[in-house]
Symmetry: C2
Subunit: 337 residues, 2 copies
DNA sequence: CTGTTAGCGCCTTCAA
DNA sequence: TTGAAGGCGCTAACAG
């Protein structure tokens, strides 16, 4: 049978409470006593029972990751990072896919909170900016860290300066001679849509290029919206020479449509995206894009959360560095004939 | 405050135990009583506290998914399925990335088992066929369900007839006139490698084509091994007219290399893969491949496991149907000149 | 078919 | 610095 705290206490000749103090790193234990308890625990191979701990201590030693699966890769990287942080803190992780935009999604999260009582949540986009959800979490007094949250939607978490990243990439494309640069936007419910659009406009502005509304097409962060957007853009009388897809899926849709039309990328059309998904390396031509350190963002957001839970936290939003990945889908602007 | 089982019992005018029966799907509850309890629970937004449940029930109400992340998409689909099954059974899920092949990975799983005491494990390839791991799990008396396990490596779980699937796809390609069909294999540690290779050989055999050893290249289920394999194959004096990549990543590597050489797919070379990842739809030309119902496999494997845990289980390995996805990367064999 | 009683193993509170 | 008693919310075992 497994040893219980009682057994350890008996073996060490102290009370249960003293063993509990040792295991929870509470003060007020004499060094000598501590050592005796630790030795007894080792001998008995004692492991605290986490259910009992949670039940009595009103903490679950569990955090939950909420996501709306925009992209498997992204989520898996976030998960990896969050797991790494959890491991260090001896915390467990539960997952909660949330169908953002479906009626009752807030209640679904409430169910999770009621059942597992996670000590905190990590929110990924677009849930980070889901106002009804955030309001309810505050009412329920559930703390959370946000990944890529808009201003004021999270007190702690991790983010990236997407706007500056896009502006940087725009400068690269402008340097290649492009002036008619189009953008297929992200979905309206995502905070990233606004940042990336703003970066696009910043880039034009810095290059002294007048924005052309015909070159901004509504998209939704999907491959299909990339195809549809590319069709409209390439059918224009004066089509763009470069297209910025709001994420890699969108950009791949553009490449697909270009290939379908026999348009050579990058010789006749430059394309770039955002996210640096594995696919961006595996399409032909490989995609120029912006690398987002998702794994680190997950790890840091989780750490901020765990620190706050344990009271160690200075808190705050940590801004991580991005990185341009210039590959083969961007090239010099084609010569006019 | 949150409702407890006591509150629900009071509201429904029954005892705590009856509420417990309803929530645990135990028999011996009159239908009318069950409905009354369910209604009361809904009104009070009652959710059983999982810590208390585990403590009293001497079960963790938790299963763990072990994976070695061959592909994010695959794992995320499996996770979705497993979560769906868990939800129904009011079970929680913990994840465990395992670095298969790294020393100490078995101990890492033991750590998981000791700490969380999951009531069972779901194993994904290649861990399903990791003999040292399986042996240890049996020693520890931890039950598990396997996904795509080789014969005898799991008693319960879900699988797919990969061999027949590949043979089917081969028949499709043969019908297009191809006779020099190459295969870039999967990694040796994966059971899928053998099945897919066998299906390839079956396909040749059924078409009366003598296998050519030069047309079978060692790969490892990666994009890079697809590129490397394609290079060797396309440099042959008598190159193949069709290449089967052991998975979609490999096949995409082949397409990439073909594009880099200016070889038109499918006009000059046909390519097909296995898995039906999202990428297979998003490359140009879109990839002919075999669809694997990963989500269902996760759901069913988890359900088999949960049934066994609760004693409801007839058990066994459920074989799921595959589906050919013929897209644009396979076409008639090029005319000889 | 339904209810009662006694813990599950730990932490909290309060006393020493 | 240490300990004793009570209870966290639920289920098992047994009783009706």
């Amino acid at each position: 049978m497994r040893a219980r705290i009682e057994d350890v206490a008996a073996a060490a000749g102290v009370s249960m409470k003293t063993v509990s103090r040792v295991f929870n790193r509470e003060p007020n234990v004499r060094e000598e006593t501590r050592l005796r308890v630790e030795e007894a625990a080792r001998q008995l191979r004692y492991r605290p029972n986490s259910s009992a701990r949670s039940l009595a201590g009103r903490r679950s030693y569990l955090i939950s990751l909420l996501y709306d699966n925009p992209s498997s890769n992204y989520i898996m990287e976030i998960i990896e990072g969050v797991l790494a942080a959890c491991e260090q803190a001896h915390y467990g992780l539960t997952l909660r896919p949330v169908d953002f935009g479906r009626r009752g999604h807030v209640e679904s999260v409430e169910g999770l909170v009621n059942q597992y009582r996670p000590d905190g949540l990590v929110l990924t986009p677009p849930l980070t900016d889901d106002l009804p959800l955030l309001r309810r979490l505050r009412e329920l007094d559930v703390r959370y860290a946000g990944i890529s949250a808009k201003r004021n939607n999270a007190r702690i978490g991790a983010t990236l300066d997407e706007r500056a990243a896009v502006a940087d990439m725009m400068a690269h494309v402008v340097a290649l001679g492009h002036r008619r640069i189009a953008h297929i936007t992200g979905h309206r419910s995502h905070g990233a849509r606004a940042w990336r659009l703003a970066g696009y406009l910043d880039g034009l502005n810095q290059a002294g290029i007048e924005p052309d509304p015909a070159l901004v097409i509504e998209g939704e962060f999907s491959f299909e919206s990339g195809i549809a957007g590319a069709r409209r853009l390439l059918d224009l009388d004066d089509p763009p020479t470069a297209i910025f897809g709001a994420n890699d899926d969108t950009a791949c849709g553009v490449i697909y449509e270009a290939a379908a039309r026999g348009l050579a990328v990058p010789d006749q059309l430059s394309v770039f995206g955002f996210d640096d998904t594995p696919m961006s390396r595996q399409v032909w031509p490989s995609l120029s894009t912006i690398r987002q350190p998702s794994r680190d963002m997950g790890r840091i957001a989780a750490r901020q959360l765990l620190d706050e839970i344990s009271g160690h936290g200075a808190g705050g939003i940590v801004r991580l560095p991005y990185q341009l990945q210039i590959r083969h889908s961007t090239g010099p602007v084609p010569q006019r004939r």
